[in-house]
């Protein structure tokens, strides 16, 4: 039953470009999908391990820049006499490089920043994102600074039956993003239903008790940060090769905030939370735009909706729906007696 439902959902999601005429809507879905992947990655750190990372966009941006640079190639003077150069590499190699670099950044943050916790970690994570953004702005030789990296090639893959194929069109990119999103979801689900995920939750719920039964706090947090960062990097890399232009604005704080809002309103620490939150806050701006509401008013509505959701459903939408369904079921059972 549950499996059939999942399969039906997947068929529906994969079939959307086949019957959806509007390429604009497909585009919106691609961007929403990329944000959902990022939100899922943040959910591991924020929802399961209970660490508020307000610099999460750094991993997204590092993935985007690293993948773009590997696919475009670069040549940089690191010292007057020393030049580091890289020939352009195919995109199917660039994306894993982006994931790898983001994961390394996650490892670094995990090692350094988890020595400090709580509010201090929040500050360190914000600072980290800001430093990375400043590097992107100022290291013009590598990143082109505010002029942005242009003409980033889209992904070319050898596909069975189709031969070499380049992902130029929106529907293709939709399928690509959906596939990565499904894979990310599977990774997160496996992790949280395993020893590693239990350790994260144990740490969030009661850190002294967790360490008393042998949970290595540092190790658990570093693992979470690496997986989370790598996944955010994958989202960033997909973004870069879809939009095909990356500038330092990918590191803006507002994107972190968007991810946090998606996770928190959807329900942090739940598998479906970031998906629900991501769909709402990914599609809402476009819906409002369709009604030709003034952009200023859109932002206000956006904020009001978020406040309302958190006021009435402090745990987020998914836990609230789950509780409501349990109550209904209990009510039905009581009437049956």
């Amino acid at each position: 039953m549950k499996r059939a439902l999942t399969a039906a959902w997947l068929v529906f999601l994969f079939s959307i470009p086949l019957w959806m005429q509007s390429l604009y809507i497909i585009h919106v879905l691609v961007i929403t999908g990329i944000f959902i992947i990022a939100a899922m990655s943040l959910n591991l750190l924020l929802g399961y391990a209970g660490q508020l990372s307000l610099g999460h966009v750094a991993f997204f941006g590092i993935g985007a820049y690293a993948s773009s640079l590997v696919s475009l190639g670069f040549s940089v003077h690191v010292a007057p006499e020393i030049v580091v150069a890289l020939e352009p590499k195919p995109v199917w190699m660039a994306i894993p490089a982006g994931i790898l670099f983001a994961g390394l950044a996650g490892w670094f943050i995990g090692r350094v920043a988890f020595k400090v916790r709580g509010a201090y970690f929040v500050i360190v994570s914000i600072s980290f994102a800001e430093v990375v953004r400043l590097v992107a702005v100022n290291w013009v030789e590598l990143t082109q600074g505010p002029m942005a990296l242009n003409n980033i090639p889209p992904l070319t893959l050898w596909l069975p039956g189709a031969g070499e194929h380049t992902f130029w069109k929106k529907p293709e990119n939709y399928w690509l993003v959906l596939t990565v999103a499904v894979l990310s979801h599977i990774v997160v689900r496996r992790l949280v239903h395993s020893r590693a995920g239990r350790a994260m939750i144990a740490l969030r719920e009661n850190e002294p008790l967790a360490s008393s039964v042998g949970v290595d706090i540092t190790r658990c947090l570093v693992l979470t940060a690496v997986v989370s960062a790598a996944m955010a990097g994958a989202a960033g890399a997909l973004y870069a090769h879809y939009v095909r232009i990356v500038d330092p604005d990918v590191f803006l704080f507002i994107y972190t905030v968007t991810m946090v809002i998606m996770v928190v309103t959807g329900g942090k620490g739940t598998l479906a939370g970031p998906i629900v939150g991501g769909l709402i806050f990914g599609l809402l701006p476009e819906t409002l735009r369709a009604f030709e509401i003034a952009p200023e008013l859109q932002w206000i509505l956006y904020g009001v909706l978020m406040v309302l959701i958190l006021y009435f459903l402090p745990d987020g939408i998914v836990p609230a729906v789950r509780k409501w369904r349990e109550q209904v079921r209990a009510g039905v059972a009581a009437e049956g007696k």
Partner: protein, 267 residues
């Protein structure tokens, strides 16, 4: 295994000259005690005597200012709590401490952390044995709940249990970590007399599994009923050490608990 000055083989935990200071405040000073393999040793003393501080120092939650801690020939100084747990030293907490937002079964599964071989990559790739091990772990968790008497509560939230059962859940979590030395910090505080009596029976069963127990407790009926030996702390120092019967007669202990005048009246 270690060239450190190993205590006699039957000694499980050896604490020598342990001191903990909080700034200028001396919490415990020159505490020396031995816990023998398989025994139940109780640490008693008035409030603020330093019992919990001693626990925290032994299990790596507090750095000692001085002193040596050895367990089965290994020096514990500087080890973190999770490393102590790997050596089989598992503690509970004075304030009830469970994973409140999780079900009772999940609570015990979290306690089974060290008994799992799962690593990140096998988990992410969804290898068969991971799922197999998960099922085995769940069976084990249910077995532990059966032992402690919470099997019927498996699907309830930890925080939804009545107080006495939360205290049992703590023990279940600790037992899941497969301790060879179990440190219990006031396990029956907040239990009613019937629950305490049940718990004393449980403790004998735990002991019959070969687990050495170091107990901090205020309930004297319990202490005298289950302990092989009792150590009494007062104002951070050990003032008496002996069998329950000896401790009950010890004038120092009576003075510490009941005051000077009472001790004189007795004498």
């Amino acid at each position: 295994m270690s060239s450190a000055p190993a205590p006699r083989p039957e000694i499980a935990l050896g604490v020598t000259g342990l001191a903990v200071h909080f700034g200028g405040l001396v919490a415990i000073e020159d505490v020396t005690l031995e816990v023998r393999e398989g025994e139940v040793l109780s640490l008693i003393g008035p409030n603020g005597a330093g019992k919990t501080t001693a626990f925290n120092a032994i299990t790596g939650y507090l750095p000692p200012a001085a002193g040596e801690i050895h367990y089965r020939g290994r020096r514990l100084n500087g080890l973190k709590p999770h490393q102590n747990a790997e050596l089989g030293i598992v503690r509970t907490f004075q304030k009830t401490s469970v994973f409140g937002g999780r079900t009772v079964l999940e609570n015990v599964l979290m306690g089974l952390h060290l008994r799992s071989r799962q690593r990140a990559l096998p988990i992410i790739f969804g290898l068969r044995w991971v799922a197999r091990e998960e099922r085995a772990l769940e069976l084990e968790a249910r077995r532990i709940l059966e032992f402690i008497g919470l099997a019927a509560r498996a699907d309830e939230l930890g925080s939804a249990l009545p107080y006495g059962e939360q205290r049992l859940l703590e023990i279940a979590i600790a037992l899941a970590a497969k301790p060879s030395l179990l440190l219990l910090d006031e396990p029956v505080s907040g239990m009613n007399p019937a629950e305490t009596a049940d718990f004393m029976k449980k403790l004998r069963e735990i002991r019959s599994l070969g687990i050495t127990v170091l107990l901090v407790e205020h309930d004297m009926r319990m202490v005298m009923g289950v302990s092989d030996r009792v150590v009494c702390l007062n104002q951070g120092r050990i003032i008496a050490d002996g069998t329950p019967a000896e401790i009950q007669r010890n004038p120092e202990v009576i003075r510490a608990y009941l005051g000077e005048r009472y001790a004189r009246a007795q004498g």
